[in-house]
Symmetry: C2
Subunit: 323 residues, 2 copies
């Protein structure tokens, strides 16, 4: 297990919304040195009022990060990631970098275009709520959640010490935040989250529309199944767009899978039966819920066959602990 005090971990968070803010809170609660930047003065003020070390000066925060040898966590929306990387290149040329964006291939493309792959380890903590901004952040948000950590760079460069150092820092942050580290390649990650996160968002939006068309009576009769199924439609449209549009091809593939299932259900209902879907769906639900916990593998970065161990963990959705 990584001991952050031994590694004198220092973390710089760019973007203090729900995710960035919650990471900052967890790290501070664990006495890790953490400081941050927020573009909007309102968000920064909120964090400052709560006793955190934040600024709206991007250049200054990156210069400080460089001096401290901090890990930089990019927690800004997808459309702002390129600008953040450029600023890091200019003002913090030696810092390790991670991010928390919900798509990984698009971010990795931006990183590689800039030749920053050796010091970047992509991440995606699988936690959130339908709320956003500093005010929605809280400690414990990531407790027990999966934290996807991308290892594509290591496939081609399994002995890069620089990359392994950053990998260790990212795993430390994830562990301090109480989550379980799940190794992923960016492609597998994006396919998986299209299924279990982006498609649910699309369905929630569509179902909200259908419910709304039912007017006040439908509203009045809506209960748990509707509330649960539409909760994430409360997410800001621009955040939903940022997630879905940057993962377009994988999401389109899941829509191409679910639309025929719904069309078949529609045809079957005229029989009238919905036996096939009701049974297949329930079986899938039971299989999904059957696993009590993620299997764990202990990884020694740089040790013999360590990247193969990452692949193996990914293939079973297992979590890793970094020795």
């Amino acid at each position: 297990m990584i001991d952050p005090s031994k590694n004198s971990l220092s973390v710089c968070v760019l973007g203090l919304g729900l995710i960035g803010g919650s990471i900052m809170r967890d790290l501070a609660a664990a006495d890790v040195e953490v400081f941050g930047y927020n573009r909007s003065a309102a968000g920064a003020r909120g964090a400052e009022k709560d006793g955190f070390d934040v600024t709206t000066d991007l250049t200054a925060v990156l210069q400080r990060a460089e001096k401290a040898g901090a890990l930089i966590v990019i927690a800004v929306p997808m459309h702002a990631v390129g600008v953040a990387l450029d600023a890091i290149n200019e003002h913090a040329p030696n810092c390790g970098i991670t991010d928390v964006v919900s798509v990984k291939a698009a971010v990795y493309d931006l990183v590689r275009e800039r030749g920053m792959g050796q010091r970047y380890v992509g991440g995606h903590p699988m936690a959130g709520t339908e709320y956003s901004g500093w005010m929605a952040s809280k400690t414990g948000l990531f407790d027990g959640a999966a934290w996807a950590v991308a290892y594509d760079y290591a496939l081609e460069n399994p002995t890069s010490q620089k990359w392994m150092d950053v990998f260790g820092q990212v795993c430390a942050v994830a562990q301090i935040c109480g989550s379980e580290i799940v190794p992923v390649t960016v492609g597998h990650h994006d396919e998986s989250v299209a299924r279990v996160s982006h498609l649910p968002h699309v369905l929630a939006e569509a179902l909200a529309v259908i419910g709304d068309r039912g007017g006040t009576l439908a509203q009045s009769l809506a209960a748990g199944s509707f509330a649960g199924a539409t909760r994430v439609a409360g997410t800001k449209p621009e955040l939903v767009r940022a997630m879905c549009e940057t993962n377009g091809p994988a999401l389109v593939k899941t829509l191409d899978e679910i639309i025929p299932i719904l069309q078949k259900a529609r045809e079957d209902l005229e029989t009238p039966t919905i036996k096939d879907l009701a049974e297949a769906g329930n079986n899938a639900y039971v299989r999904f819920g059957a696993r009590a916990s993620r299997p764990v593998m202990r990884i020694n970065p740089g040790g013999p066959g360590w990247v193969d161990q990452l692949k193996q963990a990914e293939s079973i959705g297992g979590r890793i602990e970094v020795m």
Copy 2:
């Protein structure tokens, strides 16, 4: 407000699953005389162990209901409603009848075929979980929930004293269980629940299948949005079928609405944008959540214009209190 002690309300519950069992618990907790029947001996034993007055003898329980002038609550699955009505006709020819089945037109058809309309007031408490059976039942399940009460019979027979008496009993049960009575016609009810209950079940089943196809990695990365959206896929397939298949035409209509929305999202994502759906869905969500509570109307059954008041309450999804 109806005072059950004054009306010496007595209730006979047929079927002690999640809904029937929870009604029995709430009524008993309010000191209302309540007794019940369950087809399976296991369920009956569970209820008996918990101190309730139950039997597996349908004839006996109905004869007792007739003697006590009890309101009979049909809480069996849809496929068993016809048999229950026949038994009631034979052994409890004067009791008022209600039900808790999640479709109302199909039940009302069975009632009318048997000429039992004058003593039947359909109901549907809008609460539940993904679990079923006596062991899943609990007090407080209906707290604050809508309890749809169908008034179609009163449209043609607004002065039937017999029907109004049953209506009063059903409203008393709903109120004792802590729910809010929302008047509905069976057609409007079935259209509304297709939108806010049956379609969510179909989507949950389909999404569970899509997630399951992603294998263990998708499983490992699944978080709140997936869990919330698929929760009701944990419902027993035969219960989902009973709901959906008996409300086929209304449910097909909602599928014919949502499939084109998803197809458009799929086309838009190749642009790539999902702006229209993200905004429409969020607007719908906000509208849905904007109403703090159901508007209330006080109703005096048999009083001037009382059925028009029911219609008005239904048109705004309002709740009623019976004077």
